[in-house]
């Protein structure tokens, strides 16, 4: 069995309203060193698959189809055997 950890971020060119609100709040709380904040999604998917290559294929597939919207989002993922 594999666990996929998927990191989805907004594309660079897309304004991130959540990130900029959080950055401002952090600043207001006194964290003046904060330069930028980007907020995305973190997904953990457990896959009952024996083979790493197969798991990788499936995860990529799911991301392209459903989990990620390529118009505004990018993603990376890691696979851990569990």
């Amino acid at each position: 069995m594999f666990q996929a950890k998927i990191y989805v971020t907004l594309r660079k060119s897309v304004l991130d309203p959540q990130g900029s609100v959080v950055r401002k709040s952090l600043y207001a709380l006194g964290y003046h060193n904060v330069q930028e904040v980007r907020i995305g999604r973190y997904m953990v998917v457990d896959l009952e698959v024996a083979d790493r290559a197969e798991a990788e294929k499936q995860v990529r597939d799911m991301c392209d189809k459903l989990l990620v919207n390529p118009v505004i989002e990018d993603y990376t993922f890691e696979l851990v055997e569990v």
Binding site: L10, L15, P17, L66, L67, N69, V71
Partner: protein, 233 residues
């Protein structure tokens, strides 16, 4: 002319759309269940507002895989009239029937209030009863209506006159203050290249009866009927 209103799990403006279409056009209108495999017999299909699948993951992302979307997409490709309102608009972008994407409102809050829209193109089935530049008042109610498309797509949209509605002030000026959610170019509604698929964030069905204090939304449903009956467009 027969209208169909798709019911996804979590749609909540389905009954409202049905009611408004019935009241304004007097034409037959039926619900289409999301598991339905066909949309035969319908002349115009409405994807209503609401929170299909709770808006979980991304608005419209899950709904676009509903069985009904296959025939809806085919219907659209054949030139059938499809209109997505609010969540319906989000589903249409996720399904690739319309370009771009809708993400979180700039201020991160859900917003429910009247907005003014300028009709940018009155040659579509959805706006043929309007005059170009006409200002109408239609309410919004969404948390993710912030329209985004990459610069090239945006340029094409503008060039092809696919931007149908823009947020404006009561006098028709397109200003940053009139933009409730941060949409690029104040975009409130767009259509596809062929002009038969419309997506808009504001809710025309909510202002189509005098008792609700505003009838500007009638314009869109009347346009559809008149276009169908070749009385305009």
């Amino acid at each position: 002319m027969k209208f169909g209103v798709v019911v996804f799990p979590g749609s909540n403006c389905d009954a409202d759309c049905l009611h408004a279409i019935q009241t304004v056009t007097g034409q037959p209108v039926e619900y289409i269940w999301h598991k339905s495999g066909s949309v035969d017999g319908f002349d115009c299909i409405v994807l209503p507002g609401g929170f299909s699948y709770g808006d979980y993951l991304r608005c419209g992302a899950v709904a676009r895989f509903s069985p009904v979307m296959k025939p809806v997409i085919e219907f659209a490709r054949r030139g059938g009239m499809v209109m997505g309102i609010c969540n319906g608009f989000q589903i249409l972008t996720e399904a690739g029937l319309l370009p771009g994407a809708l993400h979180r409102n700039k201020n991160l809050q859900f917003l429910c209030h009247d907005t003014y829209l300028r009709v940018e193109n009155n040659t579509t089935p959805f706006t043929c009863r309007a005059s170009e530049g006409q200002v109408i008042k239609i309410p919004i109610a969404h948390g993710e209506g912030n329209y985004y498309a990459d610069p090239e797509t945006l340029r094409q949209l503008e060039e092809n006159k696919q931007v149908i509605f823009r947020y404006c002030d009561p006098h028709g000026e397109v200003t940053p203050e009139a933009n409730p959610n941060g949409s690029l170019n104040n975009i409130a509604g767009i259509c596809n290249e062929q002009g038969n698929v419309l997506g808009m964030m504001p809710h025309p069905e909510r202002c189509a009866e005098a008792v609700l204090g505003n009838t500007d939304g009638q314009l869109i449903f009347q346009s559809l009927l008149d276009f169908w009956q070749r009385r305009c467009g």
